[in-house]
Amino acid sequence: MKTSTYLFKQGYENLKKHGSKTFTTMLIICATMIVLGIFLILVENVNKNVKTVTEGQGLQAFVSDDYLDDENIQQIARKLKDVENVKEVIYLDKDDAFEDAKSTLKEYAYLLDGLEKSNPFPASFIVKFDKLEGTEDVKETIETIDGIYKVGYNETILNAVMSVADIAKVAFFGIGTVMIVISIFIISNTIKLAVYSNKREIFIMRYIGATNKFIRRPFIVEGTLMGLGSAAISWVLVSLGYIAIYARLPKIGSTLGVFGFAPYSELWFVVLIAFILLGVILGMLGSSLAIKKYLKA
């Protein structure tokens, strides 16, 4: 039997020996993971919504009436496209703006009757972003371009989405931290049982000249197995759960301005990786904590 097989076997046997305790511990780790997983899915969905909204949103840069000749418009368009984080530039001339206003006003469109000739609506560029961060910089840069007299931006919607995202993130980290600490403590307690029932072995090992690393290893294996097992179970449960309720959820991008959910095909990987990392970290920290007392030289 190779040393690695031996370690694995030791870890597994420790788990079996304290079966019911192992089961409860894994249940608690799973609960932590599922709660964190739900938060993660929410945060991911918020991020995706923010992205969709932002993409749909963009900036509106208004052009002075003195700059409406083809040459100036083309120059402004070129300058706008050169700004970093600008994905797309769409020109709306004064007629477009007038039509837009009419369609916004719907049944009150008659208010604009007779204004066609003087057309008070300015021409503008709709500027769309690559990414949400740094849109303020884009705005400032655009304001300095000759011929642009005002840059607008639907700040209210954007800020609302951003603050929802921030609240979700804070809640995620807050609740997550508490649950992680609890989980580490519980794993550590379970592994202490294994450490305790192997006290004699550990004592003898230390006399023979085992390194701390060697003594620690089977317990780390045990903790990591628990963490990975819980990760697998949690992932299956969360995946089934999301897929089951997804049919009844509003879909992302289906209705503008309404929060929508992304399909699981866009989420499963992030959740899986998060669970695996969490499982390994919880297991390793929990078991290191449990064995610490027995390792003084």
Binding site: K2, I208, N212
Partner: protein, 225 residues
Amino acid sequence: MIEFKQVTKKYDHGVIALDNISLKIEKGEFVFLVGPSGSGKSTFLKLVIKEEDPTSGNININSRDLSKLKDKDVPYLRRKIGFVFQDFRLLYDKTVAENIIFALRVIEASEREIRTQLSSVIKQVGLEGKENSYPNQLSGGEQQRVALARALATRPPIIIADEPTGNLDAVTAKGIMDTLYEINTKGTTVVVVTHDQNIIRASNKRVIALDKGKIVSDTKTGGVM
């Protein structure tokens, strides 16, 4: 090989277990450490394997100053010292062979080394045929042989035994001592703590006597002090 220079060990509650001890045990020597209960014999052994640190003074093992040894190097010091306890300290859910293999795994020996060392130490302590027995199926003497085999398996240059015959009858004790003498003739330094006057008288080895933490006699450096 083992050198104590003015070593004092005071435990937390003020007990002075060793009081200004200086001595030198050469490579290949066989030494008995004797003295009444509480005289500091076990403390001496614990200092050798750095399970305890001296309150003052210096200890050199293989010319290495233990006070300069880092925590992470202590396991490697212990691999050079085979330790045998009065109560054997075997793993009772493991067979004789598994107990010995356990020690070899601890020092991360190769599979090949494990195989050759296992049969070699089994032969050395005379446990042929008992490889697959569990400690509970063996006599006290045989159990101590398993402990001895486990200590020898990692080929330490020093063997330290704390009252190895304390739980054994005279005949069995003699058998264990004969094995220790034999190990010594092959070059291993051996330090044995014992109470047994018969064993000491029957040998012509160096005897260091402790009392209340002081060396009261050392047959090598001039008999009774």
